[in-house]
């Protein structure tokens, strides 16, 4: 089977539809072909949703452990959450206001036998199943640090608190670009405390991120960025985010020298999480938070792009950094 063909995707109504060809698709097609031919990523039939090979995972795991070594001095609380989080957290963290089109809602069936029959019929005939499904009290986790905040309600110690969180995130952004996965991993170093502490954390980790990624042979720089906020109002949020320099991304040229791809990012959240989740700094003010996230899948892909599909042949310095 040719791996360069567009993989069918599942439309909003649950039907399988062919992906619309993107004008930029050409740019990533050779890299996608390399990944699929080498078996590093295994397509599932949904754009941006892949199986990973053992080789791919060994790079991702090496990167994850490297991140932990780099943050060993942070005295960080280690937390791991499932890739599914409570709606009660989601409804208060502002995600629905900013990114409604990227959310993943967990549904189940709560009907009677007659409804069940109708669900089966619709499934058989590939009709929209939506009307027969009901929401649950869970959503897919869109950012790995989001489930953390409600667990830290209360007053933080003097000097704030740091936490490291690793796991899968989901964002509904179907694409054939391997760098734009719908399910992907982030490894975050989060700070909770004062406004100054949050900025200092962000600055420290951008510096560390650049150092780590440069050490892996990647050509990187940090740039001011904005999130893809939804709709016309979102343009205003994006403009505000840029003016205040709340988001930085570490980017690397992958498909073209003039087209940068983000592989890590940092966010200053101000009191966006501290306020709704009742977190206070030691001085009694609403806590400010910041996080730096290593995009583990994107870094893995950038390394495979830079050094080739076989990690056994990668430069010794890169191998010894990932697998000491």
């Amino acid at each position: 089977m040719s791996t360069t063909e567009a993989i069918p995707t599942t439309g909003p109504d649950g039907r399988t539809v062919p992906s619309a060809p993107s004008p930029e698709a050409e740019a990533w097609q050779p890299f996608r072909t390399m990944l699929l031919d080498a078996g590093l990523l295994v397509p599932t039939g949904v754009d941006g949703l892949y199986g990973r090979s053992g080789t791919y995972e060994s790079v991702a795991e090496g990167m994850d452990r490297l991140v932990l070594r780099v943050g060993a001095d942070q005295d960080a609380l280690s937390m791991r959450f499932p890739p599914v989080m409570p709606w009660a957290t989601f409804q208060r963290n502002g995600y629905l206001e900013s990114f409604p089109d990227q959310m993943g809602s967990v549904h189940t069936f709560r009907g009677n036998e007659r409804d069940h029959g109708e669900l089966l019929r619709r499934t058989e005939e590939d009709e929209d199943r939506g009307p027969l499904l009901a929401t649950t009290d869970m959503v897919l986790c869109p950012a790995v640090c989001h489930p953390l905040y409600p667990t830290l309600r209360g007053v933080l110690p003097e000097g704030g608190r740091r936490a490291e969180v690793y796991g899968y995130c989901f964002r509904h952004e179907p694409s054939t670009d391997p760098f734009r996965m719908q399910a992907f991993r982030q490894h975050d170093y989060v700070y909770l405390g004062t406004p100054d502490g949050a900025r200092a954390h962000r600055d420290l980790w951008i510096e560390r991120g650049l150092e780590v990624l440069t050490g892996l042979g990647l050509e990187v720089e940090s740039v001011v960025a904005n999130d893809p906020f939804f709709g016309r109002p979102g343009r205003m949020l994006a403009a505000n985010q840029r003016i205040e320099e709340l988001k930085y991304e570490i980017v690397t040229p992958v498909y073209a020298t003039d087209r940068q791809t983000a592989i890590s990012s940092s966010n200053c959240h101000l009191d966006h999480f501290g306020r709704p989740f009742g977190i206070e700094s030691a001085d009694g003010e609403v806590a400010h938070t910041a996080c730096f996230g290593f995009g583990i899948d994107r870094i893995t892909l950038a390394l495979l792009h830079r050094h080739g599909p076989d990690p056994d042949t990668w430069p010794k310095a890169v191998r010894s950094t990932l697998w000491p």
């Binding site: 206001e97 900013s98 016309r232 109002p233 343009r235 205003m236 949020l237 403009a239 505000n240 985010q241």
Partner: protein, 79 residues
Amino acid sequence: MDQEIRQVLAEHGRLAVDVSSLDENTDLFAAGMTSHASVNVMLALEDAFDIEFAESMLKKSTFESIASIRAGVLEMTDA
């Protein structure tokens, strides 16, 4: 017009202070309006004055004070 602007701010600005105490040049963001609240203010102003802000106006400075909001609304109603 200022009265309508103040009403929109009272309903959507989520300000930390009473809207009637605001000077027309008071920095609304300093008075507690968040980015998200400013988006709701923007949408409510569009409804109240039956306008649509130009793309170039969708930025913080347009909504930073009652005076700047009035200037923005006038720009769109004159257009």
